[in-house]
Structures are given as structure tokens and as C-alpha cells.
């Protein structure tokens, strides 16, 4: 039994039906981890992207190296790092939070790239016009750059959201009870791995499909040339 729900090993079909609610509990954790990780990724990515654009080399270079480092090293090792190293400095975060932060950190490497590409795609003329108009930087970003960069950024960010959904499975390595871990525990207790793992795979397909559709929907809702100003 898991989460108070017993499984029924009398037949394959009964087994599959009985573990579905258990797997769905894991699915909730999967979705929660993705949501939190994604928020961290888009916020942290924006901060890092902006830092990288700062004219001071002493700020932009370490940021660039940090971003490259985070992008090119495995998520699993970053996760283990956060999970085992932080406690040695007195910071003991619950496993779920550690996992979400690891996801957010790794994906901030990607989102920072997305922001950079989106901002660089904006025609030079826009920047020059703002200088001619004596616009302060914050106003430039808020009313000119970001509204135009937004529609280009959203699809790319959406793809990373779907990608992160699949990466949450790695959190099972640090005790987080997401979908794959739940499926694995069921297998460890009943010695029947085929049905749980296949169902987990199927659930991931469904999740991926749904989130892809959601991203596509949001994409279509956004005006192609940029969000109109108030």
C-alpha cells in the first residue's frame, strides 16, 4: 500500500487500475515541482541575462562563465551538489525544494539564452530611437524592448517548460515522491515493474501532450508583432 491506497495484484488489469490513483498522487508532485522550478528558471534566468548585459566586464564575464557552467553540467550532479553540499554549510532544505531549485538553476542557463536571443533580435533602430528620444533605460525596457521580445520568447520558454516536466523524474534520486519514484516503489514492493513503469511512461506522454497544447495555445494568443502598449 502507498498513500493509504492498497493495490490489487489479482490480475494485470486490476493491478493497473488499482495503482492509477497512487501514480496520480505522484503526478501532482511532478506538476508542482515543474511549476516551482519553472518560476525559478524564468526569474533567475532574467536576472542572469540582465547581469550578462551589464557593460562592466567584472560582472558580465563571471556571469557568462557561470551560465555556461550551469548549462553544460548534468542536472543530476547539480541536484546531488545542492542536496548534499548545502547541509554542510548549515542549509538543510527539504528534498522537494532542493529539487525545484536544481531544476530552476539548470534551466535558468537556458532561459537566460532565450532572453538574450529575444532581446538581440530586436532591430537596432529601436535602441537608437530610444537614445534619440532620451528615454531612461527602465522605460526603454518596459515599454519598448520587453513587449516586442515577448512573443518571440514565449514559444522557446514553453518548450523548456515541457522539457522540465520530463526532467522532474530525476528528483526521484533524492527521495522526492514524484511519478517515477512512486512507480519504482510499487515495483520494488510487488516485484512487478512492467505495468507501473509503462503507466508512468504513458502518463508522461499525456502530460507532455497537454502542456505542448497549452504552450501552442498561449503562442497563438500572443500578437505576432509585440504586445501593444496601454
Amino acid at each position: 500500500m502507498l498513500f493509504g491506497i492498497e493495490w490489487d495484484t489479482s490480475s494485470d488489469l486490476a493491478f493497473a487500475i488499482s495503482i492509477l490513483p497512487i501514480l496520480l498522487r505522484g503526478l501532482i508532485v511532478t506538476v508542482q515541482a515543474t511549476a516551482l522550478g519553472f518560476v525559478i528558471a524564468i526569474v533567475l534566468g532574467l536576472i542572469l541575462a540582465l547581469l550578462r548585459m551589464v557593460p562592466l566586464k567584472i560582472v558580465s564575464w563571471p556571469t557568462a562563465i557561470f551560465l555556461e557552467f550551469v548549462r553544460d553540467t548534468p542536472l543530476l550532479v547539480q541536484l546531488f551538489f545542492l542536496y548534499f553540499v548545502l547541509p554542510e554549510y548549515g542549509i538543510v532544505l527539504p528534498a522537494f525544494l532542493t529539487g525545484a531549485i536544481a531544476l530552476g538553476l539548470q534551466y535558468s542557463g537556458y532561459t537566460a539564452e532565450v532572453y538574450r536571443a529575444g532581446i538581440e533580435a530586436i532591430p537596432r533602430g529601436q535602441w537608437e530611437a530610444s537614445i534619440a528620444l532620451n528615454m531612461p533605460a527602465w522605460l526603454l525596457f518596459r515599454d519598448v524592448i520587453i513587449p516586442q521580445a515577448f512573443p518571440r520568447i514565449v514559444p522557446a520558454l514553453g518548450n523548456y517548460l515541457v522539457s522540465m516536466l520530463k526532467d522532474t523524474a530525476i528528483l526521484s534520486a533524492v527521495t522526492v515522491l514524484e511519478m517515477l519514484h512512486v512507480g519504482r516503489i510499487i515495483g520494488d514492493r510487488t516485484f512487478r515493474y512492467f505495468i507501473p513503469l509503462t503507466m508512468v511512461g504513458g502518463l508522461y506522454l499525456v502530460l507532455t501532450l497537454l502542456s505542448s497544447l497549452a504552450v501552442r495555445f498561449t503562442e497563438n494568443k500572443l500578437p505576432k508583432d509585440g504586445i501593444p502598449l496601454r
Binding site: M1, L2, F3, G4, F84, P87, V92, P94, A95, A173, T175, L177, H181, R184, I185, G187, D188, R189, F191, Y193
Partner: protein
């Protein structure tokens, strides 16, 4: 695509697939002729572990090596894997035998076979030094539902915890015994549930943790839990199992056997209890 290349790839894949199909299970004649065998253990001191030099030690490995030497098998290929993967690995013929003193349980007997009983042990809980939560047994988790218990995936402590009615959010499934120490020391779990010996040995490794004392064994179905460990074998290796059991039985009558178990922390009572129970009794649910 070019037909030649396509055929090449197809045949390579086919060969690879055939080459990896499950072989015949642990075959007695094969093992005796080659003098080599594949054994798995789960890195849990003192039942079976790999030390810094890469040698397998513990109750399971030491006894297995002695018994197999008497059978003329001296080349042992040791694999270390997670506890939860021991039985699946056996079923998948990744190794011939498991030497981890796994408890003989009816659910396990349905999937695999066990040798004659080799060891017996009680339970324990590993807690933070000073036992800040004042934990002395499974009942404390029932009384205080904020307490969390770490359990290795696949271990039978999960059954005890569920028998006591612990809620799922009180149970943290950790991948292996070696992660348990840091889990308790950093406060990620309030206690780690494992056998008494395991807990005792872990406590020796760090000042940040200790074995919960005094400790009352969990009571399941009216009886305090006592587990009996044996060597695990694939269900189809009957011939090998019988030969192994014969040698093991003979070995258990020697003083060398007792010395090995005593050196790993078992008491004379533990040893006598182990020798008094049969595998069949445990598999059918009595004993």
C-alpha cells in the same frame, strides 16, 4: 537508406539482443566447472558490504565465501546494488545469488527461493545524537505524526511502519542504507528504520547520530518482529540451491561459522534462533 547499411545495423542489433537474452539460471554444473559465480550485495554493514579495498565483507559474503570454497568455487564476481534492486536483479539473471541476509518473507518467497536460514536480527532506529525527539520505538511515530521515518526502498520496515498506521507523508523512501546517515544527521528524517545491527554500526561512524535507546521492537500481529536472513537465489536454481544448502548446513555446525557471525555483532542467541527456524516455515507465514 542504403540497403547494405540497413542490413548491417539490423543484424548488429539482432546479435546484441540475442547475446543479452536471459541465460539459464544459476546452473550447478556450470558454476562448479568454471569455479566462478556472480553474487550481489547491498552495501549494508554488517550484512554485506564492499570495503575501501574493494573486498566484499559481512555476514553474507564471509559465510558465502567459506561455503563456496568448500564447493570448489573460489572466483566470486561481486556486484553492489541498491537493496530494492537485489531481487529484481536476481530474477533478471544479472547475478546468481544474493548475499545480503535478506529477511525471508512470504511475499519474497513467491518470487525467489531462499537457502536455509543463516542469521537472525531484530529492529532498531537511528536518530540524531542526543535523541532530541525522544524516539524509542515505532509507537512514537503514531503518537506524533510530525515525525518522519526514513526507510530504504524495498525493505520490510515499510510493512512494519504501515502496520502501525504511519501516514505516507511520515515515510521517506531513501535509495540506500549509505544515504541514511546523512539523512538523519541533517535532520531530513527524524529516524532511520533498519535492523538493530545496521543502526548500531551506522552510529559508530558519526557523532551526529546514535541508536535510539532504549528501543522496543515493533510489534506486528501480536509478536515483536524478529527477522531471519538467508541467501537469496533464483527460483529456477533448484539443483544449485540444494548443493549450497548441504554445504551451508555442514558449515553451520562448525565453530568458524559462529566466529564469523559473532565478529559481526550477532549474539549467541541470535545464532541459535537462526538455526532453529526453517525456510519453509517462514515462507508459509509461520515461525
Amino acid at each position: 537508406m542504403n540497403r547494405k547499411i540497413r542490413n548491417m545495423i539490423a543484424s548488429t542489433l539482432a546479435l546484441a539482443l540475442i547475446g543479452s537474452l536471459a541465460f539459464a539460471q544459476a546452473d550447478l554444473t556450470e558454476i562448479q566447472e568454471s569455479g566462478s559465480i556472480r553474487i550481489a550485495t547491498a552495501n549494508e554493514i554488517p550484512y554485506g558490504w564492499i570495503d575501501e579495498n574493494g573486498d566484499a565483507r559481512g555476514i553474507g559474503p564471509d559465510v558465502a565465501e567459506a561455503v563456496l570454497a568448500n564447493m570448489g568455487v573460489t572466483d566470486i564476481d561481486w556486484t553492489v546494488t541498491e537493496f530494492g534492486s537485489l531481487i529484481p536483479g536476481l530474477i533478471a539473471d544479472r547475478f546468481d545469488m544474493v548475499a545480503a541476509s535478506q529477511a525471508v518473507l512470504p511475499a519474497r518467497c513467491e518470487q525467489v527461493d531462499f537457502s536455509i536460514i543463516n542469521s537472525s536480527y531484530g529492529e532498531g532506529l537511528l536518530v540524531e545524537a542526543g535523541n532530541p525527539q525522544d524516539i524509542h520505538g515505532y509507537e512514537d511515530f503514531v503518537d506524533n505524526s510530525n515525525l518522519t521515518m526514513g526507510i530504504v526502498s524495498g525493505a520490510d520496515q515499510l510493512d512494519f511502519a504501515q502496520a502501525y498506521g504511519l501516514r505516507q507523508n511520515q515515510i521517506v523512501s531513501i535509495p540506500s542504507n549509505t544515504d541514511a546517515l546523512s539523512a538523519v544527521a541533517t535532520g531530513r528524517v527524524d529516524a532511520y528504520a533498519a535492523t538493530g545491527l545496521t543502526v548500531g554500526r551506522l552510529a559508530l561512524n558519526s557523532e551526529d547520530v546514535e541508536a535510539a535507546e532504549p528501543f522496543t521492537d515493533p510489534v506486528v500481529d501480536g509478536e515483536p518482529v524478529r527477522s531471519f536472513g538467508a541467501f537469496t537465489l533464483n527460483a529456477d536454481s533448484d539443483e544449485f540451491r540444494e548443493a549450497f544448502n548441504e554445504e551451508l548446513g555442514a558449515f553451520q555446525e562448525t565453530q568458524e561459522y559462529r566466529d564469523i557471525l559473532l565478529s559481526h555483532g550477532l549474539t549467541e542467541q541470535d545464532i541459535d534462533a537462526a538455526l532453529a527456524v526453517t525456510t519453509e516455515e517462514l515462507c508459509s507465514g509461520e515461525g
